[in-house]
Amino acid sequence: MRYLPLTPDDRRAMLARIGAQDVDALFRDVPKPALAPLSVFNLPDTQGEMEVERALSKLAASNVAAGAAPFFCGAGAYKHHVPSAVDHLIQRSEFLTSYTPYQPEIAQGTLQYLFEFQSQVALLTGMEVANASLYDGSTATAEAVLMAQRITKRGKAILSGGLHPHYAETVETVAGLFGPMTRSAVTPGSAEDIIALIDEDTACVVVQSPDVFGLIRNLRPIADAAHAKGALLIAVVTEVVSLGLLEPPGAQGADIVAAEGQSIGNGLNFGGPYVGLFAAREKFLRQMPGRLCGETVDAEGRRGYVLTLSTREQHIRREKATSNICTNSGLCTLAFTIHLSLLGEEGLTRLARINHAKASALADRLAALPGVEVVTPAFFNEFTVRLPKPAAPVVEALAAKSVIAGVPVSRLLPHDKTVEKLLILAATETNTDDDFAALSSALNGALA
């Protein structure tokens, strides 16, 4: 087997040094009946690289890649152009095949980019500190609520109806163990009166902006209201490119920001791996989950970086840790930070404007179709339309014509009949006028 360096001779020599007769002698602690012969495993035998590549390629080819069709899906994952330098760099052996930087003297590469990543995330979100990543936006949101529960010593969380339903479910699953989770009702395309729900038991209010229907929210009044009741505002961002054009949550009073970083540097990957961004006010530092990288000096006084404040973490603090997270999104943070370094201030702000311009053009175009209504008045690169028919079958019909029209709201909220005609569409810098034309003509056809 090409990945296994030991030859039969090597194995014999090693067994001899050990003084074991055969390799099964090394498994002597395993109860005999549990030591299974190979035949117990009803699975295929080893194959060469070419055969494996063929099998996988066949599976891949039976999917329609986003780049292979006019494509408009968003709702928490976005198709952006990632510069080729990103993938080249993250595949450097020294980044790809290194572990968590537990030996800082020989992991300065990883540590420095984590420090830079934390700095970028703090700048983008307008927050004071950021960690070295969590799994993704949804789990980051759940961690944010748990953190708010710890800080406020209250259990209740109010989840905006504009929060991505998958995020809300993720939060409920874990934070729901420690207090009631209230989802506020919302009319897609408008903001609910969430302030009315905040009370003295509230640990936090969780508001996504732009929300799952694309609507840009105004966080400041919510922050003020939450703070007035001793609650925290958790701002959620699923499309981080929006921060190139929109006021950051930190400038609007957010206490914690949980965001999905996939849009920058990372592919769609059918849902993962993504990268959870997590930023907070400095005073909550010691309640933060996840790894933190900090600056220090070495024995010769040279600047260097180390993982720090690990007394918050499971490997030191065990059941008292702020989170159980260990493996995080390492390499995805690297992709994020490289892409953001390539973009820089000018690139990111331009990219954000292009996205908004594209989405605006698409919205105008769709609004012109008979029976189609754009329900999101203010948006970044994503908005919701009401079709004259249920959206899901329309999307399937268009898919059959190789147009990937977006995400029907019913996919996220299948039990809610009031939203079944709603369709969420995203447009990014990757969409062309041809894409728009293909979509509107296909949609026109399907709605006729």
Binding site: F41, L56, T296, Q314, A321
Partner: protein, 521 residues
Amino acid sequence: MSMNNQGRPTSSGEAFPASIATISGDRGLDHEEPLIFELGHGAAGVDLPDVDVADARLGGQRRKGAIGLPGLSEPEVIRHYVRLSRMNYAIDAGLYPLGSCTMKHNPRLNEKMARLPGFGDLHPLAPQSTTQGALELISQLMTWLTGLTGMPAVAMSPKAGAHGELCGLLAIRAAIAARGKNRKRILVPESAHGTNPATAAFAGFTVDEVPAKPNGHVDAGALKAKLGPDVAAIMLTNPNTCGLFEGEVKEIADAVHAAGAYFYCDGANFNAIAGKVRPGDLGVDAMHINLHKTFSTPHGGGGPGAGPVVLSERLAAYAPIPLLVADGKGLRLIEDMTAAPDGTKPFGRMCAFHGQMGMFVRALTYMLSHGRDGVRQASEDAVLSANYILASLKDVMSAPFGDGPCMHEALFDDAFLEGTGVTTLDFAKAMIDEGYHPMTMYFPLVVHGAMLIEPTESESKASLDRFIHVLHTLASEARAKKTERFAGAPHLAPRRRLDETAAARKPVLRWKPEALKQAAE
């Protein structure tokens, strides 16, 4: 001066006159590298048109201030990261014997397959008719995972081992609740990985530690004694974190089940037994599998990983959404609790979307490449290599749990360093000078000054022999109180020892623009 045939010097070279520092601060191929913020100068590494947009649809939320991101051209960005990378150790460059971390070879084919547009450029919410190949891949991987573990079901969405632990405990919690019970206590051996107790607390349980026996195994007697009506589960790692197989596992499982509790197995060490032992045959109810360890997703400086959880018949119904089902039209994801098939009662959702597809592709590629025979051989080779190290070093280092055999990792403690003035940390840092990444240190907690060596199956015998020679010599020198190598090591790495205390005392966690810094002062 003479040379041997591999170009290794028989004595050290003339040092660059110690009194002279380089002008640049760089030294040969070793470059110092400023922060990206210190390098930025208003250039851009992308070419994007400068499009103007109206405020009309921005809800009054247009950004007012600048972000403060540095601007660099593409060549500058590439150089920055290439230089940073060169300060890192990596499996690709050397043996990486981090116990419990399974730094095995990461085949390049896996990377290539994960980047096929049909996987890498596939949206999680694209119409399911356009993602059948992806669903088929997940389904095949599920067959492998259940087949290798002998378990009936698997939840695919957990994003790492710890997330898998949480998934397992939440399934147990749901199963207990379904029985109308309320059990709050989880038994965790003291040798457990930190994520075990952390997860138990995360899932709202209390943690009760079970002591280890002097031979490194969990004290089954003590464990049984702790069982009771409030015990929800035990979390047992097997092979355990001392690198030993818990031989009494079946009896423990039986006792746990008899007490109405569940058996969560931490499967981080599954790589020692994959293709040899099926956890399902040992009474396990739930076990996460670190795809990034056993099935070789590169560790990427800390992640990402994936932690699918196999589940017993007793827990299968509680698996979280999304669920993958086959119907007449092909494969389909059930993404909503209200749509769960009859007989299932998903406890909730672990995360948005369907899990770590990128890791699934790599894992299936790994499995198809190895086949069941290769997976088995890999486990055997991993165990063989660890035992080889144990057998070769036990004369100079101290193995707390006797002569073995061990499983896939060899555990030593610091007894052999006693009175030498050399600590476990010194010993580890001296390894850095020798071109090796240190082993896992000070874990597991059950032995003093632990050094946990996991060579994996990916090292040749020659590589192991060289490693053994270096460690043997280091240990002998330490015992002989020849401590020059150890004091203040590493000497030859990009940095000398870093001041971790200072870092924690006054945390500097980000770069700040001068304006902000001054304001803070």
